[in-house]
Amino acid sequence: MTTPPNAATTTGTDRDTILRADGVTMRFGGLTAVRGVDLTVGSGEIVGLIGPNGAGKTTFFNCLTGLYVPTEGTVSYRGTRLSRKPHLVTQAGVARTFQNIRLFANMTVLENVLVGRHTRTKEGLWSALLRGPGFKKAERTSEQRAMELLEFTGLAHKRDHLARNLPYGEQRKLEIARALASEPGLLLLDEPTAGMNPQETRATQDLVLAIRAQGTAVLVIEHDMRFIFNLCDRVAVLVQGQKLIEGTADVVQADDRVIAAYLGTPLDDDTPDAPHTAPPTDTDGTPADGTPAADPAPDATAPADPPAQGHTGDTP
């Protein structure tokens, strides 16, 4: 995977950080979907992002890729602040897949990947109309590169099929191939194994490892815990828009609050004022300003100002 020349960044970090999100907050009117999330991804790292449904994971992804402009906070990639235009984010080297597959359904498999090459080719309309040698060379290179990616993901034999006709698992693979075609330094995968059977999940796991082996860092959202803990160097847990904890698989797995966030707390703990006793600090310096509610109520409204307003209605 080729990387842009500004790989050696000046922002002093312990590791070679390629993505740095600082205090990303996303508000939709009164609803704060993501609140002050910090996250870094080092080069060649696989980072997992987990959390219950509605925790703001996909919103955070959209903030990273420019589909949403974060209300507060900055996202920088290799030391430069990322643009707020999604197509420039891709150009800079951050590619993504979508939670609900968004292929170009009526284009062939090969065409899908060729569209992914868009930012890495320059040929404009004039070049297309005049069909000079440069155009032909670029098209040939693009097609070669696309075919390599299809080989890599095991879809080469389906190059002329329409994307809509691929089975589900292959559609997911094709989406990854399409994202890889933009030669990203960081790949964001939004639930790559949703709806897959165990074999397919394992295949995806191998694919992600192979992508990392080529030098691309991966940030992955997933609900499949085995997948996450097998794969990721670090895992961040997002609950109600806030980062609860970040650490290695063992640390995260052992954390009570993570278990509570996923499974809920036992009933006898769930006294009306229990959710709002703020834990002092997190193990690895997560800001402790906001308090993730320990019950799994899907209420993500800002719990900030009137702290006395508890989650009434759960338990008397």
Binding site: P86, L88, T108, L114, V115, H118, L125, A128, E139, L162
Partner: protein, 598 residues
């Protein structure tokens, strides 16, 4: 009608042994064809003069052709050596359709004679023979079993009828032909197409054209069911350049088949309309932007050309040479395209449609008001800019009649040939733009804009590019349009009206023909121009019938006449995988995978 379905499920509508039915069909078709050698009526009052023995004329020619076609298809279905290539897919469905087409055309003629001349007494024995023979052919063809016996034997007569018409996939790969033979086949097919189309243009308005239309509506599906169109499509795909060349050559031959200018003007107008439709196809078909005011760009081109082409009424009083006027028209449209597009293309879908609709009206009303009283005098208001002089290129005056190869080419013939060049240019632009990085990006935006943006496509810029390119192509056609009609008035460029080109007809041409394809809008535009022009005699009912025809077509063939492979799958969800049977012969693989549909 029998309902005896238990013993032989694969049976036709009527109880006849298969071989008998087939032989009867062939014999009936032969007699039908021969009957056109006799007089059908005694009076030459009926259009086409069907009074001669041994000299078929007018509508008799259609019956003659239909009878021969049915005969050929039926004998091919019998397995006759040397004719089997005619039916590579279905055997009986095409025979039935051809028999139906012949029957419809023949009986339409006979009824029209009886009605127009006042009574059955006006039919000569020849006409009665034709009617009986075509009826016999049809009945025998109805006894033919369906090509593909379905899982469940059809129950009622109607189900049996539709089962008999069901399409069959290509049975086998026919013998590989040498390349020259394939090219000859393509040339012959295009020549036949030209002949059929020319015949349609040349038929008189009224009954003869209705007969022609009736026949074509049924005969073309017959060829389709026989698998001939599929074979031809495969051939044109292998020889795409040759096919395009042959198509343009055939089209260029058209004015040489005409003695007068009466029909070449229709040809020239069809080409203008088709070129604009192809430009619109960039916007609607490729980039997926619904533009309801597209005719305004044709108007901008026409007005720009009118102003600089030396009309005495032009406010500018300029007289540019043709190439400069052409560039002016295209550039003016381009500028307007960008001006309209830049603020509006951030809108999506319906909103954009409304804005473009508004722009179309603004253009027309602005042209009306720039008349010296309600605004500066530029366009001469409702009177328009008249007396646009004929073009003159290198001393070749388009207004004069030139004799080429002994055939006189009058004004519209000249413009027709010029438009062929313009259309060829637009076709080239469309093909090359579609099969490139830009074209792929357009299609990606059409398919899923969010995903396209996430793939690094600057959707606003590319949409603007599509909008501007479409506008410039329309402006190009508008320049010639101004010279052909010699006047530029605001009323030519409406949203909707009984005569093309207007925005509604343009959009209909694109959708009817097949969005995103190359030949679709050309065919759609040709039909949409020709049919209203020929059905003029219906007067008030013209648009009503036309509208009903459009509704029916969209109901039963929403992907258009010449569908994009993508669209066909989109509208007819069959659940089966679209497995490409043979790898598309990518001889020019460098053109990218977005095959421009030939």
């Amino acid at each position: 009608m029998t309902t005896d379905t238990t013993t032989t499920p694969a049976r036709g509508l009527l109880p006849l042994p298969e071989r008998t039915a087939r032989l009867t069909t062939a014999a009936g078709a032969l007699v039908t064809a021969l009957s056109t050698g006799l007089a059908w009526t005694w009076s030459s009052d009926f259009p086409g003069d069907l009074t001669y023995n041994l000299s078929p004329a007018g509508l008799q020619l259609i019956t003659l052709f239909g009878g021969l076609l049915t005969l050929l298809l039926a004998t091919s279905a019998l397995g006759t050596r040397g004719l089997r290539w005619l039916t590579p897919a279905g055997r009986n469905a095409p025979t039935l359709l051809a028999a139906l087409a012949t029957f419809a055309a023949t009986w339409f003629t006979l009824i029209a004679i009886a009605v127009q001349l006042g009574g059955l007494i006006n039919l000569e024995p020849g006409g009665l023979l034709a009617g009986l023979a075509s009826l016999l052919t049809l009945l025998a063809a109805l006894a033919l079993p369906p090509d593909t016996p379905g899982d469940t034997p059809p129950t009622g007569p109607w189900q049996r009828f539709t089962a008999a018409l069901a399409p069959t996939p290509l049975r086998r790969r026919t013998r590989e032909l040498p390349a020259w033979a394939e090219i000859l086949t393509i040339a012959a097919a295009f020549a036949a197409g030209l002949l059929a189309f020319t015949y349609g243009i040349d038929t008189d308005d009224g009954a003869p054209f209705v007969g022609y239309l009736l026949f074509m509506v049924l005969a073309v599906p017959a060829l389709h069911r026989a698998g001939l169109t599929a074979r031809l499509t495969a051939l044109t795909r292998t020889h795409r350049g040759v096919a395009l060349g042959a198509a343009f050559l055939a089209a260029a031959c058209f004015p040489f088949t005409q003695d007068t200018d009466q029909y070449t003007i229709i040809g020239a107008n069809i080409l203008i309309f088709a070129t604009v439709a192809l430009g619109l196809n960039v916007v609607v078909g490729l980039a997926g932007l619904l533009d309801l005011g597209y005719v305004a760009f044709l108007g901008v081109g026409a007005y720009a050309a009118a102003l600089v082409s030396g009309s005495a009424e032009s406010a500018l009083g300029l007289h540019f040479p043709f190439w400069a006027a052409l560039l002016t028209g295209a550039a003016a449209s381009l500028v307007f395209g960008v001006l309209i597009g830049a603020p509006t293309l951030r809108l999506r879908g319906d909103y954009l449609a409304i804005v473009t609709l508004g722009f179309g009206e603004i253009f027309r009303i602005a042209m009306l008001n720039l008349n010296g009283t309600t605004g500066p005098d530029i366009t001469n208001g409702a009177m328009g800019i008249p007396n646009i002089p004929n073009l003159e290129i290198f001393g070749f005056n388009f207004g004069e009649t030139h004799t080429v190869l002994g055939i006189p080419l009058a004004t519209y013939g000249n413009y027709y040939l010029l438009m062929i060049l313009v259309t060829a240019f637009v076709v080239l632009v469309f093909r090359r733009a579609a099969a490139s990085r830009i074209g792929r990006a357009w299609i990606a935006i059409r398919e899923d804009e969010t995903a396209a943006i996430a793939m690094g496509i600057n959707s606003f810029r590319l949409r603007l590019l599509a909008f501007a390119l479409g506008a410039a192509l329309a402006g190009l056609a508008g320049t010639v349009h101004a010279h052909v009609v010699t006047t530029a008035t605001p009323e030519q460029f409406q949203f909707a009206g009984p005569q093309p080109p207007n925005s509604a007809f343009l959009l209909a041409a694109v959708i009817l023909g097949g969005m995103g394809t190359l030949s679709g809008p050309l065919v759609g535009a040709a039909l949409l121009f020709l049919i209203p022009a020929k059905l003029d005699f219906l007067q008030d009912y013209q648009l009503l019938l036309f509208g009903i025809a459009l509704v029916l077509l969209m109901r039963f063939r929403p992907e258009g006449l010449i569908p994009d492979r993508r669209k066909q799958l989109e509208f007819h969800e069959t659940g089966q995988l679209d497995v490409p049977d043979q790898r598309l012969p990518d001889t020019d693989a460098t053109l990218g995978a977005t095959q421009a549909k030939a």
